[in-house]
Symmetry: C2
Subunit: 414 residues, 2 copies
């Protein structure tokens, strides 16, 4: 070859959903059988064994003293949260609604934490009564917690959510550095700690979250190092040594062509080294990683059926019974600047090698409703199953299900 051949970036191969008799399976069940069991398409299916495997893999590579918390906003399906409650060390939530689901699992409230920039007095009151840890996001919220705490005669467990002066580089979303609606600017934390000491509050520690959906190990480790150093310097001002510090998560998963999965080994080795220094200074402080997407994102699929197939001016369209109302992220309307394709399969044609270039759309009467653009897939017909992978996080709950009045899809944990 005299000329460099430029290969088009491709999706990372999905695993965990092997084909049986040419048909994709979830938890060992063929998609068509699962559809019959659910009773209708579209639906989301999550694989509990794959979720457990992912947690086991994290435990294998990450330092054993690190606690793993599940950020349930990524997938608040009660059965999923219940499953997680048996295999993680804590649950992190963002509303009273999520708290109800978390408490119903039976998990110790002391292992549950509540963050969010706009907690109402009602929510704070519920959290104090439940005994969950509250990540305080402002001075005003702190005073409100102290007031309600006194009213209820319960000493509230609190941590300070810190807006650091650094960001998580090359992140899908930045949540730290510069001005933010989240947490208290790190330079104001010493003053806040002084006030915490005067109030009747149980100071547990810090919460530092700086970004999400990151696929770069060195950016993640650099940020973890900065977070741990920030905790060391802020702890000098604390009324007591922190019992817990939540240094966030941010681990991404490969969604789009060219994305590469993270190496847990690199992350684990790096974090081990960082913890040596940290634990010399704060040996009794628990370090928590809070992860949502990374724990469940790759264990779920979204299943739709082809309702119509047509060719318009040379392009083939598979029109499905699903769409952006069920899976906003896959339509490219959930924080993305440019729409890119999620990995997709025609579930009942896994052994067909002949490919066809198709556009996959939903049933909504809007051009926003696109699930796949110009994808090479086995030739599909009406009645076939179109499956979107990497759909276990920020899928159904992050979608406008009422848009255009179609029924909401089911969710199953297999």
């Amino acid at each position: 070859m005299t000329k460099m051949e430029k290969k088009k970036p491709e999706h990372v191969a999905t695993h965990g959903f092997p084909a049986k008799d040419g048909e994709l399976t979830v938890g060992g069940i063929k998609i068509s059988q699962l559809a019959d069991r659910v009773g209708s398409t579209p639906f989301y299916a999550y694989d509990r064994a794959l979720i457990s495997e992912r947690i086991a893999e994290m435990r294998k590579y990450l330092p054993p003293q690190v606690k793993l918390h599940f950020a349930m906003k990524a997938n608040p399906m009660p059965a999923v949260v219940h499953h997680m409650s048996h295999i993680v060390d804590g649950l992190d939530l963002a509303s009273a609604g999520e708290m109800a689901i978390a408490l119903d699992t039976g998990m110790d409230p002391a292992l549950i934490s509540f963050a969010g920039p706009g907690k109402t007095s009602q929510e704070l009151s519920q959290a104090i009564a439940a005994g969950v840890l509250i990540n305080m996001e402002s001075f005003a919220e702190m005073e409100n917690i102290a007031r309600i705490s006194k009213e209820q005669d319960i000493v509230a467990k609190v941590a300070i959510r810190v807006n650091p002066d650094f960001e998580l580089k090359s992140s899908g979303m930045k949540m730290g550095g510069g001005p933010q609606q989240f947490g208290v600017d790190s330079e104001e934390v010493p003053a806040m700690l002084k006030r915490v000491a005067k109030l009747d509050l149980d100071f547990i520690g810090f919460h530092i979250f700086s970004g999400s959906q990151n696929l770069n190990e060195s950016s993640l480790l650099e940020t973890q190092e900065k977070a741990l150093n920030l905790v060391l310097s802020l702890s000098k001002h604390a009324p007591n040594m922190p019992k817990k510090v939540n240094i966030g998560g941010g681990f991404g998963i490969p969604y789009f062509p060219g994305d590469k999965p993270l190496s847990l080994q690199i992350l684990g080795n790096g974090l081990s080294k960082l913890l040596q220094k940290f634990q010399n200074e704060l040996p009794d402080t628990e370090v928590v990683l809070e992860l949502g997407r990374y724990m469940v994102g790759e264990s779920g699929v979204y299943v739709t059926k082809v309702i119509d197939k047509k060719t318009s001016r040379g392009e083939v369209y598979l029109i499905t019974d699903g769409g952006m109302h069920h899976h906003l992220a896959a339509s490219g309307n959930f924080g993305q600047l440019i729409r890119k394709n999620y990995p997709v399969a025609i579930a009942n044609r896994m052994d067909i090698s002949e490919k066809e270039k198709v556009n996959i759309v939903g049933c909504l009467c809007t051009p926003l409703d696109r699930l796949g653009d110009k994808m090479n897939l086995p030739q599909a017909e009406i009645g076939d199953y179109v499956v979107l992978f990497q759909s276990g996080a920020y899928g159904l709950s992050a979608s406008p299900t009422a848009f255009l009045g179609h029924p909401a899809p089911y969710e199953v944990l297999v």
Copy 2:
């Protein structure tokens, strides 16, 4: 002045929500009183008098023979649809769920039409039984309708949704021209009409929709002209003269700084001229304009309360109890490439002239949850009401209400 001064683009002044004693009103009721009546914030409030005014204004300027249909996907709140059913000439819907709401208004099913690229057999069966007009989107759908029609022993009313070979220029969203999931390519329509003639179907006419959210009168008129010409040429192949042609809508409303409202006078005069030629050839064909956003978008507001106020590294944040889970479009995640500010007011500080530059965010734990960036507004405090205008269309129903587990907002028609 020797140098040109460049004025920053501003929002068009909102009207219809006058202040009383320094407080914004909806339907004559102060926001704080309305909040008490609703019982909680956030909520959407729609003003029935403003909706009626808008329809009256359209009737005043648009040619009297044009029929006005409401595309209920823009706002499917049952009370709104019911109100519309008394003042428009028809309802257009996109799902069996919307059909149930439309039929409950008591409107004659013959005045209701159903469009959507992925109608299931179940939905088609319901539509045929109800007697609504079905806009056929493909050959396969036509055959399916004919089959169900025979089973039910009811002659289905059908129109062909045409994918034209032109687009609506300078539109927020294009829905025609080139390859599309919507409708049947215009060059294939003659063949489809031939097949319609052979099937036991009641051919009513055509539906041509080419784009939406357009603020350019000449683009709209140019597209209407092309649509009417396309109907004239396609009608030559029809089994009978079309009784109705729906030439779409696409009328936009001013959302963002610099947007200018449409002139109904220009649109009305232009369309009158176009109709003269059209009606010479097809005197008995009803011309329908289908509008959603334009009819209701400016008559609604989204009301939230300030839960916290804080300064982070020099920027002021108003943290509200609302957010992107209620109003995805205002957060810039509903088809927009770049987030821009909707017009906003601090409802209980309408007579305060001193301004402060603020960011308005929601209560969700995600940086996507932004409702206003760097806006100059009267100085607001915790407990104040933040109101987003232009929120009567594609608001609640187009938002991921379950995201992060907060309660869904109420809607009121005042």
